[in-house]
């Protein structure tokens, strides 16, 4: 290990910290979850209502469960079941990603702004 290696470690740690700080600052406790198939928005879920939803993924049905303002993938058909193992998410800093099923579930926050002018 030489000086340049340490410099690299420090630079990378700074970049990672900035990434975490950024995602935490922009984190919102939303009450809507958006379900995407690839880049298409296929379902908007109200997190205030505990309910189960089923959407069509690439490999079959994906069952989404809403409970206590949190959302998870309850059941899905994929080789490693990564997105159902991820458990519940409750804010916008995380997402549920079911790659084999091409399904992404994101939580979108209710903006604190009264209105946005474009």
């Amino acid at each position: 290990m030489n000086k340049k290696d340490f410099l690299l470690i420090i630079v990378v740690i700074i970049i990672i910290s900035i990434m975490f700080i950024f995602t935490n600052m922009t984190k919102e406790k939303g009450d809507t979850a958006e379900v995407y198939y690839e880049d298409k928005l296929i379902l908007q879920i109200d997190l205030n209502i505990d309910k189960e939803y089923t959407v069509q993924g690439f490999l079959g049905d994906v069952v989404i469960e809403v409970k206590d303002k949190k959302v998870r993938v309850k059941k899905e058909n994929s080789p490693q079941h990564i997105c159902s193992k991820e458990g519940f998410i409750s804010d916008s800093s995380k997402a549920l990603i079911c790659l084999p099923n091409k399904i992404v579930i994101k939580i979108v926050g209710t903006s604190e702004l009264d209105g946005v002018v474009y």
């Binding site: 030489n2 990378v12 970049i15 990564i82 800093s93 992404v104």
Partner: protein, 164 residues
């Protein structure tokens, strides 16, 4: 390509494939972040890059992905993730080898660019940028794994100085 080079590529690739198969039996790291692994097979690539040349290291890195996929997971999502990670990491390791970084630094560059390559291909395959939230988690782990692989490769190069 000389016969010696072909033999070397074959030898190193087969060692790399065996290492990746052994590594796949210990998926404890991927319980933290999906797709996370030690990257032990990168030892072979680093070894090839430092002891021989870029061409041999590149071939070993890419061929290893094809063979490991053929033997293990098939040519599905995992294949594309491994391929893009391996490709980006060998290119960046080659570029950063020319700087003053030691083999440990180059190994870190390799594991960082491997993570970035995986997230990039994830965005392409999924057509959705949400997967980028994995990146900082992957990067946190890619520092220690990169250092570990770098140290192992350094030792390996030291002990094999007079052979092959």
């Amino acid at each position: 390509m000389k016969t010696k080079d072909i033999t070397l590529v074959a030898l190193l690739t087969s060692i790399g494939v065996v290492i990746s198969i052994i590594e796949s039996y210990f998926p404890f790291l991927s319980s933290f972040v999906p797709g996370l692994k030690l990257g032990l097979a990168n030892i072979v690539v680093l070894f090839a890059l430092y002891k021989y040349n870029f061409k041999i290291a590149f071939l070993v890195s890419i061929l290893r992905v094809f063979l490991a996929s053929l033997l293990r997971t098939g040519f599905g999502f995992n294949f594309f993730f491994s391929l893009s990670g391996a490709f980006l990491s060998i290119i960046f390791m080659y570029l950063f080898k020319k700087t003053k970084l030691s083999i440990i630094g180059v190994s870190m560059i390799g594991s960082i660019s491997h993570s970035i390559g995986q997230v990039l291909i994830g965005i392409v395959l999924l057509k959705n940028t949400a997967i980028i939230y994995y990146l900082p988690y992957l990067l946190i782990f890619s520092l220690p794994t990169g250092i570990l692989i770098g140290i192992i490769s350094k030792k390996l190069l030291k002990y094999t100085e007079n052979i092959i």
